[in-house]
């Protein structure tokens, strides 16, 4: 007999329903949050309000995408924000050389660092946490050394007009350009995860690496691809973030690291791998953005904001464990 049949009480049925479609529950949460925030701060319902929400959610969602793909394989990328900063600097430094070169370099750096992570984790079986923590430390050093004095990053900090446009310009009405980038990316990722071979293998690797191996896949290749993609996403996130303010900073996205992981967890992606998806992560990113705005409106301090962040992440993680019954101990 199967679990399905065992589902008798309404709560069980509900929890089972949600455990399979967290996105729907999350959309509910988002809607409620949006309305509550709007009642507190009606400007949210204006074109401006919606636009700014979309605008600010974009970089977070992209960095969260980077965490999502890694977490699906049972890993994590704590170097993502430093990759983002690094790439943004590279792009700015070369902005003189035109979009192709400048963006080319930026994404090349992202991919290279990501691939390095992937080789460490996939081939040498370095624990993802350690690998990416180490990498982030390396990047912090490189970037700081690069920008001080006449370091190799001390060139122009002027932003590429294209990046500025994508990051901050309006497409029409409340829709900023960045939303199009995010939308396109989302379709790509969601398709990639659900409808391609590598997508299947990403979930499979996170679920049971030995099964993947016994089925004839060299799982290090999967991890290499995943962390390279993560690097590219991080680079994109850094660029989009710079676009908002039209500038670059050595630690510009660092405050997004924990929120990006949080967005993925809220979105129902398990840090142990194997379950979740990007759709949930996007909603998670929007929830955090609207929440941020609510708290901004409430004139709370950063302190309170952080505390509420933490509590929400913890509660939701606990909630998922309860409904999916996948304890770890």
């Amino acid at each position: 007999m199967t679990a399905e049949i065992a589902l008798t009480t309404p709560t069980q049925r509900l929890s089972h329903y949600i455990s399979h479609r967290p996105v729907i529950a999350l959309l509910g949460v988002l809607t409620v949050l949006f309305i509550v925030t709007g009642m507190k701060d009606p400007a949210l319902f204006t074109t401006q309000g919606i636009r700014s929400t979309l605008l600010l959610a974009c970089p977070l969602a992209i960095l969260a995408a980077c965490q999502t793909v890694c977490m699906l394989t049972g890993g994590i990328d704590l170097s993502s924000t430093m990759i983002a900063n690094f790439a943004a600097y590279i792009a700015a430094n070369n902005s003189g050389a035109g979009p192709v070169v400048s963006l080319g370099f930026a994404f090349l750096v992202g991919a290279a660092v990501g691939a390095a992570n992937g080789i460490g984790i996939g081939v040498f079986k370095v624990n993802p946490l350690i690998m990416t923590i180490g990498m982030s430390s390396v990047l912090v050093g490189i970037v700081t050394v690069g920008i001080v004095g006449d370091g190799f990053l001390s060139g122009s900090t002027a932003l590429l007009p294209l990046v500025k446009t994508l990051g901050s310009a309006t497409l029409f009405g409340p829709i900023p350009m960045s939303t199009i980038v995010l939308a396109a990316l989302s379709l790509l990722i969601i398709f990639g995860l659900s409808r391609t071979g590598i997508g299947r293998l990403i979930y499979a690797t996170g679920d049971n690496e030995s099964a993947v191996r016994l089925a004839g896949t060299r799982s290090w290749r999967v991890l290499l691809v995943v962390y390279t993609i993560a690097g590219l996403l991080a680079a994109l996130g850094g660029l989009m973030f710079s676009g908002i303010s039209g500038s670059v900073g050595p630690d510009q996205t660092n405050s997004y690291l924990l929120p990006s992981v949080a967005a993925a967890i809220i979105g129902g992606t398990s840090i142990l791998g194997g379950t979740g998806g990007f759709a949930g992560t996007i909603v998670g990113a929007f929830i955090l953005t609207v929440l941020n705005r609510l708290l901004t409106g409430l004139e709370t301090t950063d302190a309170v904001r952080q505390i509420i962040y933490g509590i929400i992440v913890l509660t939701l993680a606990w909630f998922y464990v309860r409904i999916t019954g996948q304890r770890t101990d």
Binding site: M1, T2, A3, E4, I5, H20, F191, R195, T196, G197, I198, R200, L201, Y203, A204, D207, N208, S210, A211, V212, R213, L214, A215, G216, T217, R218, R221, V225, G274, T275, Q326
Partner: protein
């Protein structure tokens, strides 16, 4: 009659969808050594774990000295005088012997004395467990249990990993223990041990106790009888064999004198297209190494494997799979994607080549998957997550995966372990069909009946060597005694009794 030391009635245990124990009853007198027998998956270890407070039962009643009890931890059971040596080692490998003793609060003097009684010298409390060979670890485990001077000593397949000389020391200590008025619950797949050293035995089958008697009187045949049972009534039991003869057919899979460490030495045999060859062996006779070696999941030290006549040097399963060799491992947990849907589990091998990492041809893939689901009649009610499936359906996934992907050689390791009788017969038919379609099948089974039911030939391993090559229909007793190393009877080939 004398008051029972231990009385277990109606013990049942369910793991999610798997039923490990249905209704187990057992009673142990003071001062007796009592054997617990049963095929793999019969529920022996589960019973032991309940008895010693490792897990708690779903139903049933335990009483010690006819006082109802229920242990919530091994420590508690130990205080109540029940100490056990578990099937899987319970010594922490990163710690030293002394530290492991501290964990269980075992008096070091008592431990040393116990080791001394077992006739083992030169033990060093500072030695790290990781540095001690498995046989001695089992002895340490035993000595630790004895050091607590338990009233009931539980030994779950302690002899499986022991050479004869050490095994004998175990029996001596059992004798001493019972002589001193203590009792022993002894689990083993080696029947001769049980006949020789146990006063009574209880046989489990499919989670139930089916018989309790004196092994010396019953003898091997009675034991085997009740272990195997007569499931004839349940399903038709006609044996299927290949109709064609294999004379002159080139082998599809050929193993030439492969060896690996302690586990395997000089094993050679061949499997021809359309043939099903069964490997018969007791627990831990090297069969796991043999299968994993052929499948490329681990390396042989020497010898070679040929596929269709060409040598296969498989450093990674991918290499073997690319040569059409499919492997279904013993432990489902290694092959299953527990959180993924049935469809993804069945389609997994389709994406092993990097060139298939792009968009999935939905139509063809789902067609293949559907075909497999129908052919294996997999229960799709819980299609969303494999971990929600029953053990039998999970097993179907790990086999069906290869039907979806295609293969020429199929390695099945105990494909019916812990599955209900109905599913078992579906799998038998499947194996035969696969063979009839021209694949070569090599299967290990711990259920002797299956040899006669599905195989054409049987290859018997004992202590890592190939001791006999028998026709599948020589009968369970013959197979069993061969598996116990008695190779004087029924041995066709000259390979017998080399060890």
């Amino acid at each position: 009659m004398a008051q029972e030391l231990l009385q277990a009635t109606g013990i049942a245990k369910q793991y999610g969808s798997v039923i490990a124990l249905r209704n187990a009853n057992l009673s142990i007198h003071p001062g007796e050594s009592h054997a617990l027998l049963g095929a793999n998956g019969a529920g022996k270890s589960t019973f032991v774990k309940i008895l010693t407070g490792v897990i708690n039962s779903s139903a049933g009643q335990l009483s010690v000295d006819s006082v109802a009890t229920c242990f919530s931890s091994p420590a508690q059971a130990r205080q109540a005088g029940i100490a056990s040596v578990f099937q899987d080692p319970a010594l922490v490998s990163d710690l030293t012997v002394a530290q492991n003793l501290r964990l269980t609060g075992t008096p070091r003097a008592g431990f040393a004395r116990a080791l001394d009684d077992l006739g083992i010298t030169g033990f060093d409390p500072g030695e790290q467990i990781a540095d001690i060979s498995l046989p001695f670890l089992r002895m340490f485990d035993l000595a630790r249990a004895l050091a607590h001077q338990p009233r009931l000593l539980v030994l779950d397949e302690i002899t499986a990993a022991l050479p004869t000389d050490l095994a004998d020391r175990v029996f001596d200590s059992m004798r001493r223990h019972t002589a001193a008025g203590g009792s022993v619950l002894f689990i083993s797949h080696r029947l001769e041990e049980i006949i020789e050293h146990c006063g009574r035995c209880t046989v489990f089958r499919d989670g139930r106790d089916v018989a309790t008697f004196v092994p010396r009187e019953g003898g091997e045949s009675r034991i085997v009888q009740s272990m195997l049972g007569d499931s004839a009534g349940l399903v038709r039991e006609e044996a299927r064999r290949s109709s064609v003869s294999f004379d002159g057919v080139k082998p599809q899979l050929e193993v030439r004198s492969v060896a690996a460490g302690e586990q395997l030495a000089d094993v050679s045999f061949a499997v021809r297209p359309g043939e099903v060859v069964a490997v018969v062996a007791l627990e831990g006779q090297g069969q796991d190494t043999l299968f994993e070696g052929i499948a490329g999941a681990q390396k042989f030290d020497s010898g070679e494997v040929l596929i269709g006549g060409n040598p296969l040097s498989a450093s990674h399963p991918a290499k073997a799979i690319a040569r059409g060799v499919a492997f279904v491992p013993s432990d489902r947990a290694h092959a299953l994607l527990p959180q993924r849907p049935i469809s993804e589990n069945l389609a997994l091998p389709l994406f092993r080549r990097t060139r298939t990492w792009g968009p999935i041809p939905q139509k063809t893939v789902s067609a293949k998957v559907t075909r497999t689901v129908e052919r294996l009649s997999i229960d799709t009610r819980a299609a969303s997550q494999a971990r929600r499936l029953s053990g039998g359906n999970q097993q179907k996934l790990t086999i069906g995966r290869w039907l979806t992907a295609g293969f020429d050689t199929l390695l099945l390791f105990d494909p019916t372990r812990g599955i209900d009788i109905g599913t078992k017969h579906q799998i038998y038919d499947l194996i035969r069909d696969i063979a009839d379609e021209g694949a070569a099948v090599l299967m290990y089974t711990s259920e002797l009946r299956e040899v006669n039911l599905v195989a054409d030939r049987a290859v018997v391993l004992y202590r890592g060597r190939m001791v006999a090559e028998l026709a599948a229909d020589v009968g369970d007793e013959a197979l069993l005694s061969a598996a116990h190393g008695f190779t004087n009877t029924h041995s066709h080939s000259g390979k017998g009794a080399t060890s």
